[in-house]
Amino acid sequence: MTPRVEFTPEQLAEVRRLQGLYPDKRAALLPVLQLAQEAFGHISLEAEEYVAGLFDLSPAHVHEVVTFYTLFFREPKGRHVISVCHNLTCHLLGAQQVLAHLTERLGVEVGGTTPDGRVTLLGVECLCACEMAPMLQVDDRYEGHLTREKVDGILEGLR
């Protein structure tokens, strides 16, 4: 079920607070889009239009912002997101094996979401934690020094 694209009164109060914080209210666009993604799961065209209305912007302006940044999801994502760094240091220390293990364990390609909606798997550019390479981000958390066993342990913790 797609949640209704509308903020609660509490969330709207937060939008107004954010808009009042900056010298120009448009600067609150990224934080408000982050709020929208938390509230609605992803940022649909409908959500872009809704947010545009809160800023008196054209939906096209919001769309160009949403599509510019990697952390905004335009399609429903899994309950958990695993982002494996595949940049240079992680590549040198085995990122490809980590990705191969994850695609096998999860049965999805990089960029895909498991059919049960549990995990979205991504390959991403440097997360700036090269000292713990190979590493990944699972939701809010960084996990490094990855081995097959460690990756399996991470997967077990995800519901």
């Binding site: 510019f68 952390l71 040198l92 700036c128 000292e131």
Partner: protein, 414 residues
Amino acid sequence: MAEKILTRNFHLPGSHTLAVYRETGGYAGLETAFATKPADITEEVKKANLRGLGGAGFPTGVKWGFLPKGRPGPIYLVINADEGEPGTFKDRYLLERDPHALIEGMIISGYAIGAHLAFVYVRGEYVQPWRIFSGAVEEAYAAGLLGRNIRGSGFDLDVIVHRGAGAYICGEETGLISSLEGRKGWPKLKPPFPAIRGAFGAPTIVNNVETICHVPHIVRRGAEWFASVGTKTQGGTRLYSLSGHVERPGVYELPVSVTLRELVYEHAGGVPHGRRLKAVVPGGSSAALLTADEIDVTMDVDGLKNAGTMAGSAGVIVMDETVSIPEALMVVARFYAHESCGQCTPCREATGWIYKMARRIVEGKGRKEDLDTILDVARRGAGTTICAFFDGAVGPYISYIEKFRHEFEALIRK
């Protein structure tokens, strides 16, 4: 052992708290600062030879000096915590382990440049660093260290912690400003420089986290002391991020006069498994590659510039003899293709095509002319774009091919 300045508290439990920061002399720089004229602090920072530690290495005090004098209206201080240069992770450590050092630096820097509102732009992926830093800002407000009339000085400073949303280009200062304003992170043509017309159209100083963390120490201990640590043209220590094929990857704080060889072998413990060193990226992925026999260079801005590469963000990536340089170039080229913001044609087109060529070379489908095409496109594109992103990509494109051409040719002949 060289004295640790920025990392001196990293090992202490609770180093991110106000209590521990204060116990170790934190916020003591404020008194000295508030008893000094703002313009004199800028002079001290100039004399200290503090250079921007985000990547460009520009003298910090000189940057501050570009602000228009006596013009009415606000001035903003923006802290670039959008750490993203591959191979770099030191600002993450500062945000998590010593956030009050950044806040103290911001108060003093804000006072020096006349800013009463500061933004800290933290990359979106840095959730934990953002939480810890935001907690420190709350603590500082509660203790009267931020807000109105800080410590009875009459100086006001508010801090807004702003989260990015995933885009390397927002680490470029004008791209960061666009993003902070609620737009896609497209860099802007300079001039006007941000010091003249920056965030929200107002004069703005954008400085890296580590740069600002040095300011309280300069104020407390003097420009001469700071300048004496380091080289003739760059004062102080710097946080080197060591990763890749080294025994002990991590953050190392050392005077900028340290050599790359010392960093790799003495501090990070050398190359594991008894393997030989092949090459080192000395300053984040945008720095030109150095071969194993080019590492007797000092790690200051000018030392690496003279060696034909750059100090950049001080992210040192070490590669042993097992590494395929064409494969490494493919990985780096994919990064630049992915992160090009698409605004300028030479960068948008070249990063995409060079990645495709690097990839087909690795896949054994390379064409004889590919190497010269990459070099030609890289050289023609350098300096033709709005920001330094493409110039940064040119560093690896050219150096990987020129220094290891035989490895590429072997793959093409196959």
